[in-house]
């Protein structure tokens, strides 16, 4: 990125093909960063405009207006209001949908009044003939006083012209407002407003007043004067309404001359599909069916690549162990770092497949129908139709799911959604459930065709959803958070998903998951390794003592090595930690070894199996689950002389994992999204309490 690059902000209504245009302009030259101070992902890409000129394109969240009602939309305002000089765009590229030009031009008219050079790209022009639309382009250019390009982003048509227009617009560097908002509403009021500062356009000043958002460079005096304008809030509201109506009047006047729709040509795929997808019975049936197909595919399709990743990492560790000289560094690498990275990578197939489905559902427009179907139900539980998307994504991973709540405009509904999302069964719980189910549930069929193990797994998913809903209801009734509940969702046209958009979406989401979660899991596995392979003096003497203890007994060398490893672990720091918490977890049916796994799982749930594997001195190799399974199956409770992992213990553990907030990465994201430690801490302790009590009851009743 050089200083010479033109800074382009890409802005438009949702569902206008903004993302398609961004992908066409930048290709794979994309990166996701953070906006300074705020925590919403910023998508930027480099676009080669000409042989000598590059542009840095920022993809802003889709919005209907500059006046924000959700966190996503407030980014647009902040970027455009020059909150941060370095971020402020040289050229704004507005994308509009040809079919909905009137509404799209409202946003354009607001942008134009900021007096920044603006290019208008009218998208989906390949649909014009089909929809009976015709545009007088040269007249529209004149009326709107701007560069206009007709494009079809998905078909890669008009992209070069967009690039040329950006350069022309940047060179000309002239910008004039479209709607003089002052005369029509209250000339006196707006003239006075304009007098406050010459460095800003009237509309910018008006936005500062209405949105209470000020640029970095504003002086204290100017700010004081602007604040004085805010006193009469009912007047502000009235003027904002008037402004919007005035803008629409102007747009209507212009479109009357330049834009003709022959409605008889419109085809009606939308209403036919809507009849099916929003039908009162079939709509829900289809939705449930779709969810089943998604979950089925996530497990089926992912199992092969997951096995492959698993064995590959085991081989890498083996290879490193055999080819590197023995020592602390090799141990750290083969027992800490390599399994740590493997623990993250292994989730990629499941997460990518889930994101693939979600991206397709959003691209086709079906997700909006789900929002429509579910809003009333979700509202009873203090959430919003839009909460469905995070709750579904939560089955892959709570991190992207919590980020997906940003479109919910009511803070209370959004907060409740964030708080309950970790109850949904994420993919990290799967390895834990898988091994426990295999241990305690017989592999038989019930009613002749249902596999009992599968049924138990399904009920654990059900338990997660049910608890999420129940927790939401309790929060809804108890949380004292003031926030206006307002809901409006656009029902976009149905369309076929674009392969390119879906691909980029899956790539980007998966990448950010791997990086976010990866950092923590990796760091933790190193700490874990350190705590498990170091300890006070008893640890150092463990080897000697064990050899002395078994000196007269007849055991093989392998058995001896195993005993030494167990003794070492018991006396390592982590072993001491496990012993310390043993009294607390005993009523749940766990011993200190399980206790260690519980502690380490508070960083990430999937660590459970690996920790037990280390503890039972087996190679931490998931591919070979039979060994760890056998070890767990043969582990004996010394007090009863029976199996440690019996039915009550297994059930108690699964219930514990279903409820407990054992994921540092999620806690970090909740902190980021709620901007305080209060909510993640409430989540951590509330869920841990629930997990403990439920596991206690489960064990005590079953035992």
């Amino acid at each position: 990125m050089s200083n010479n690059d033109i800074k382009v902000a890409l802005i438009g209504n949702p569902n206008t093909g903004k993302t398609s245009l961004f992908n066409q302009l930048t290709g794979l030259n994309q990166k996701v960063g953070n906006y300074p101070g705020i925590t919403v992902d910023k998508k930027q890409g480099i676009c080669k405009l000409s042989a000598t000129q590059n542009a840095v394109v920022t993809d802003l969240p889709g919005t209907y207006s500059i006046n924000p009602t959700s966190l996503d939309e407030s980014i647009v305002l902040k970027t455009l209001l020059k909150k941060d000089i370095k971020e402020s765009p040289d050229v704004i590229l507005v994308v509009a949908d040809v079919e909905n030009l009137k509404r799209n031009l409202l946003l354009f008219s607001q942008i134009k009044d900021l007096e920044v050079p603006t290019v208008l790209a009218i998208n989906m022009v390949d649909q014009m003939a089909k929809k009976g639309i015709s545009i007088d382009l040269s007249l529209l250019k004149k009326e709107l006083n701007t560069e206009i390009v007709l494009i079809s982003a998905r078909k890669n048509e008009g992209i070069e012209q967009v690039k040329e227009a950006i350069i022309r617009c940047h060179v000309a560097a002239k910008a004039s407002p479209l709607c003089g908002i002052n005369h029509q509403i209250d000339p006196d009021y707006f003239t006075k407003l304009k007098e406050i500062s010459t460095s800003y356009s009237l509309y910018e000043l008006w936005l500062m007043v209405t949105q209470n958002s000020y640029p970095e460079a504003i002086t204290t005096e100017e700010k004081k004067k602007l604040i004085a304008f805010k006193q009469d809030t009912s007047k502000l509201k009235k003027y904002q309404h008037k402004e919007t109506i005035y803008r629409y009047q102007e747009i209507n006047k212009i479109l009357k001359k330049t834009y003709i729709v022959d409605k008889s040509k419109a085809t009606d795929l939308r209403s036919k599909l809507d009849k099916v997808f929003t039908h009162k019975i079939f709509g829900y049936v289809f939705f449930v069916f779709l969810l089943l197909v998604i979950f089925q595919s996530v497990f089926d399709w992912a199992s092969l690549p997951m096995d492959f990743i698993d064995s590959t990492f085991a081989q890498i560790a083996d290879f490193a162990k055999s080819s590197l000289p023995e020592g602390v560094f090799t141990d750290l690498l083969t027992e800490g770092i390599i399994p740590g990275i493997g623990g993250v990578i292994i989730f990629i197939p499941q997460i990518a497949i889930l994101f693939l489905f979600i991206a397709v559902l959003e691209e086709t427009g079906y997700m909006s129908r789900v929002v429509f179907l579910m809003d009333k139900i979700m509202r009873r539980f203090g959430m919003n139709g839009k909460s469905v998307i995070p709750l579904i994504s939560g089955t892959a991973c709570a991190i992207p799911a919590i980020m997906a709540t940003r479109t919910i405009s009511s803070w209370k509904e959004r907060l409740i959604t964030i708080l309950v999302t970790p109850f949904t069964t994420c993919s990290a719980r799967l390895p834990v459930y898988a091994i426990l189910i295999a241990l305690i549930i017989p592999n038989t069929n019930v009613f002749g065709f249902l596999n009992l193990q599968g049924l138990v797994l399904l009920s654990l998913y059900g338990l997660g959803f049910f608890t999420a809903i129940l927790a939401a209801y309790i929060l809804h009734k108890t949380l004292d958070v003031k926030s206006k509940s307002f809901f409006v969702a656009e029902m976009p046209n149905y369309k076929l998903p674009s392969v390119k958009n879906v691909f980029y979406e899956v790539l980007e989401k998966t990448k950010s998951f791997v990086l976010e979660a990866g950092k923590i899991i990796l760091a933790l596995s190193i700490v874990l390794w350190f705590l498990a392979s170091n300890g006070p003096s008893a640890y150092k003497n463990a080897e000697k003592n064990t050899i002395e203890n078994v000196a007269n007994k007849n055991i093989t060398d392998a058995e001896l090595q195993q005993k030494i490893a167990s003794a070492k672990l018991e006396n390592s720091y982590i072993g001491i930690l496990g012993k310390t918490i043993e009294p607390v977890i005993k009523p749940l049916g766990y011993d200190w070894k399980i206790g260690i796994a519980l502690i380490t799982s508070f960083a990430a749930r999937e660590v459970f199996v690996g920790t037990l594997a280390t503890i039972y001195s087996v190679e931490a190799d998931d591919e070979d689950t039979s060994t760890i399974k056998e070890k767990m199956a043969s582990e004996v409770n010394p007090e009863t002389g029976k199996k440690r992992f019996n039915f009550p213990v297994g059930m108690s553990l699964m219930v514990f994992y279903a409820f407990a907030m054992q994921c540092m990465a999620t806690l970090a994201i909740v902190k980021r999204e709620t901007k305080t430690w209060k909510w993640p801490l409430i989540q951590l302790f509330g869920m841990a309490f629930l997990a403990y009590v439920s596991a206690l009851f489960t064990y005590q009743i079953l035992n």
């Binding site: 209907y64 929003t278 179907l373 009333k376």
Partner: protein, 81 residues
């Protein structure tokens, strides 16, 4: 076309497929966001579909297809032709 102003007519009282015109007096009851999305006084509004649990409503106004909650719709008065 003849307009009847019925004080009980709001977007929420439309039948599926029925069309009304948003009355000027409703202006203050329309949230800014809805105005911006094209839900303007004088505009033709059609009730396209009602969600299975009678809420939200799926309307078409000024070319925008929107889902809004019944409580919002009940505040927006309309004239029926």
């Amino acid at each position: 076309m003849r307009f009847k102003l019925n004080s009980l007519s709001t977007i929420a009282s439309l039948h599926i497929g029925e069309v009304g015109y948003i009355s000027e007096e409703s202006l203050d009851n329309i949230p800014l966001k809805l105005l911006e999305m094209g839900c303007l006084p004088g505009a033709e509004v059609e009730l396209v579909q009602v969600a299975p649990l009678k809420d939200p409503l799926y309307i078409c106004v000024n070319g925008s297809h929107l889902a809004i909650r019944k409580e919002t719709a009940a505040k927006i008065k309309i004239l029926k032709s």
